[in-house]
């Protein structure tokens, strides 16, 4: 039997498996089919959306050919990695990139020994010279860049070991640290860097980018769909793009050439499958009006439908004294069995209750504390069913205290 890592064996097994291949999409065609997040990763600083301040400053450094050590921080999917890679490309171009840029991230071993050896070796390496004329096209400033992506997962020791390296070789090497939580970077390192905060993407900018992608992919969007994308992804553009892509797949709102090929095979299967149940009418190639809807996005994003949350809140109301437990427990059991993520339940409950004007300040104070407790427990890995049930019952008690 083929071993996954044994290439020869895998080739042989592959040949036999391949023979029974049904689909006609050759691998060559699929080669440029990347997930959209990668396909639309900004290739130059100009492509980076919404981080205007940061981009302006960095663009100035392109001209000035001087660069401080840098620290990029901000929530996921806001363009940190994309920005530094784009900057490095613009500085060095394809031919010098390898010799001038070292990228290490959390998937690499970055214990203290690596910092001492690999990072230091690269930092002190002499600069190689660009080929003649190359400098006309790319600035190729006289220093290398070491990118330490996801630096918040480096140990304190490893970070400490960096301090010296950073100073000693600062003539020929610049560091760029990237992280989500700036507080996880030790002070002596942070204070050596210019800090750039990456903001969660706001309405305006993200909207434009998403609309451009949708247009490029020939995806039709229902009015309000982009706003929903942005709302559900909480400023994380990567998430928004992934949602968009799968919503597009879901409704079959993809490029004409592709959707045809898929549509045909889909139809055949649907018919076979439903034979005994009296064919359900699925219109697979009704093309023109396929649009990504608001609800389809919410569904992909795991947003709980309003009536489900309202059902739970209704069950928590004190009016039916005595029967409250039963009603709440049933709702919670269903929520959990339906697989709604507990974090999502908590978030949506919170939004409903905290902004409910009929509740007194005193009630709200208690409610907020219950939420704090719950969040902590969930992150600690406590059982979701018990935790949510407890929260719902506590809230129910607080609602009764009028």
């Amino acid at each position: 039997m083929a071993n996954f890592f044994d290439n020869k064996a895998r080739a042989a097994a592959g040949a036999t498996n391949g023979a029974s291949s049904l689909k006609n999409v050759a691998p060559k065609e699929t080669q440029n089919l990347q997930p959209w997040v990668e396909k639309y990763r900004p290739k130059s600083l100009n492509d980076v959306t919404a981080q205007d301040h940061t981009i302006t400053v960095l663009q100035r450094t392109l001209q000035a050919t001087n660069l401080p050590h840098m620290l990029f921080y901000g929530p996921p999917g806001t363009g940190k990695t994309s920005t530094i890679l784009a900057l490095a490309k613009e500085l060095y171009g394809p031919e010098m990139f390898r010799s001038r840029v070292l990228e290490l991230n959390a998937s690499d071993e970055r214990g203290i020994s690596i910092v001492r050896e690999k990072v230091k070796d690269f930092a002190r390496m002499q600069l190689s010279n660009p080929p003649p004329d190359y400098k006309d096209r790319y600035p190729c400033p006289p220093y290398k860049i070491i990118i330490l992506d996801e630096a918040d997962s480096m140990t304190q020791d490893a970070q400490s070991a960096l301090r010296r390296t950073m100073e000693t070789y600062s003539k020929i090497t610049r560091f760029c640290l990237i992280c989500n939580y700036v507080t996880r970077i030790i002070d002596p390192l942070a204070s050596r860097c210019s800090k750039f905060r990456f903001k969660p993407l706001d309405q305006g900018n993200a909207k434009k980018r998403l609309e451009d992608i949708a247009e490029n992919e020939h995806v039709k969007l229902e009015p309000g769909a982009v706003d929903t994308l942005i709302k559900c992804s909480e400023g994380d553009l990567r998430k928004a793009i992934t949602f968009l892509q799968s919503a597009a797949r879901l409704v079959g709102a993809v490029k004409p050439s592709q959707s045809k090929a898929n549509g045909l095979s889909k139809k055949r299967k649907v018919v076979e499958y439903d034979e005994d149940e009296g064919a359900m009418d699925v219109d697979v190639d009704g093309d023109d009006d396929k649009m990504v809807t608001v609800r389809s996005i919410e569904e992909i994003a795991g947003v709980i439908p309003n009536d489900v949350v309202d059902g739970l809140i209704k069950a928590m109301q004190p009016s039916l004294r005595g029967a409250v437990y039963e009603a709440v427990a049933n709702q919670v059991t269903d929520l959990v069995a339906d697989g709604w993520s507990a974090t999502q339940v908590v978030t949506q409950l919170y939004q409903k209750l905290v902004y409910d004007d009929t509740l007194s300040d005193k009630q709200k104070t208690k409610i907020v504390m219950a939420f704090s407790d719950t969040d902590k427990r969930l992150v600690d890995g406590a059982d979701e069913h018990l935790t949510i049930l407890d929260l719902a019952l506590q809230l129910s008690g607080m609602l009764a205290e009028r």
Binding site: P35, K239, E272
Partner: protein, 352 residues
């Protein structure tokens, strides 16, 4: 002979029962060629794994079913050797990093890069990328999750991940941001009944509709549990009726006994008796959370409505403690003591 749960596991997306819309969604993702990383979550026994195996088949064809188990050795930075099992076909592999506890990062770092850097060997493979299925992703350490981040982006032409989890609460935001979340709800009781009927027919068993409905209800919408119960009932009874009792698993019967004992007497002596039984359960590898939850939900119907919220409160409290602590028995016992106290005070008409 294999159990029903294995013999009747649907193997293709077409064969999957219930959640037809989700099957359709997975199919269109699999056929699109730009399949994203997935984080598949939902309660136990909802059919997550089954659905993903079917999706892999949609991606690669029947070749993914030819699997073998590999044992590999990894070395930690402190030179400790870790043995680790991998289930693999030529197209995909499946790992359970939580098997190696806190060393899961080492496995993730080494293994995924290795996979990502080798090309798809089957020249006619339908996809250029290979898939790595990660079981129990919610048990991955923070470090291991961090190690996944850039790998998921950098090697995406060659590698897609499918993370399986019961809960998304422990998955760090940067990973959630890199995956498409796929929720698999548990089948409804009606869905479960349909599966039971179908399986029963194929086995040539007589059908008792009422019995199947009871099984579906008792299973708590867990299809695996329902199938196991279904098989047990039919193994023990030549002929079944709507009234045929469903034998609970041993451990559940034991917890029922504990509940009765706790209700009957609220004394330190009784706690001691119960402790022996709790130990017994733990030593038979029943997870402490399961013990606590089952006990709680067996006690609840036996007590007054006024006490229920309080009992749930302390049950949730000690369950959290179980997660954080290391001596499970302490917290189980504390819950028992707390419960006795709540009940006793209530019966004596005192405030508690």
């Amino acid at each position: 002979m294999a159990l029903l749960v294995d013999r009747y596991r649907p193997r293709s997306l077409e064969a999957l029962t219930y959640h037809e819309d989700l099957s359709e969604r997975l199919r269109s993702l699999a056929q699109s060629g730009d399949f994203p990383h997935l984080l598949v979550y939902g309660p136990s026994g909802a059919g997550k794994k089954t659905r993903i195996v079917a999706t892999l088949r949609e991606l690669y064809g029947p070749g993914v079913e030819k699997i073998k188990i590999d044992s590999r050795v990894f070395q930690t930075t402190s030179n400790r050797k870790l043995e680790f099992n991998i289930v693999a076909s030529v197209y995909h592999l499946e790992i359970t990093p939580s098997d190696v506890g806190n060393f899961d990062r080492v496995v993730i770092q080494d293994l995924l890069k290795e996979v990502a850097q080798t090309q798809q060997v089957d020249q006619s493979a339908r996809q250029r990328f290979k898939v790595v299925v990660i079981n129990e992703a919610d048990h991955l350490t923070r470090d291991a999750q961090a190690a996944l981040r850039r790998t998921m982006e950098k090697y995406s032409p060659n590698l897609r991940l499918i993370l399986l989890a019961n809960s998304t609460a422990n998955i760090i935001a940067p990973i959630r941001s890199r995956t498409l979340l796929v929720r698999v709800a548990a089948p409804t009781e009606a869905d479960i009944c349909k599966v039971l009927t179908k399986v029963g027919k194929q086995e040539g068993w007589s059908e008792a509709e009422g019995l199947n409905r009871r099984i579906a209800k008792d299973s708590g919408r867990n299809l695996r549990r329902a199938l196991l119960m279904f098989e047990a009932v039919h193994a023990q009874n030549e002929k079944v009726t709507d009234k045929t009792p469903i034998p609970p698993p041993d451990w559940e019967a034991l917890i029922e006994q504990i509940a009765d004992q706790i209700m009957a007497e609220h004394t330190p002596a009784r706690i001691l008796e119960v402790r022996a039984k709790l130990y017994d359960l733990l030593s038979h590898c029943i997870p402490p959370t399961t013990v606590l939850k089952t006990l709680t939900f067996k006690l609840i119907p036996k007590i007054d409505d006024a006490l229920k919220a309080d009992v749930i409160r302390w049950s949730a409290f000690y369950e959290h403690r179980i997660r954080l602590g290391s001596k499970h028995i302490f917290h189980l016992e504390a819950f028992v003591a707390k419960f006795m106290r709540i009940l006793e005070s209530y019966l004596m008409g005192m405030d508690f």
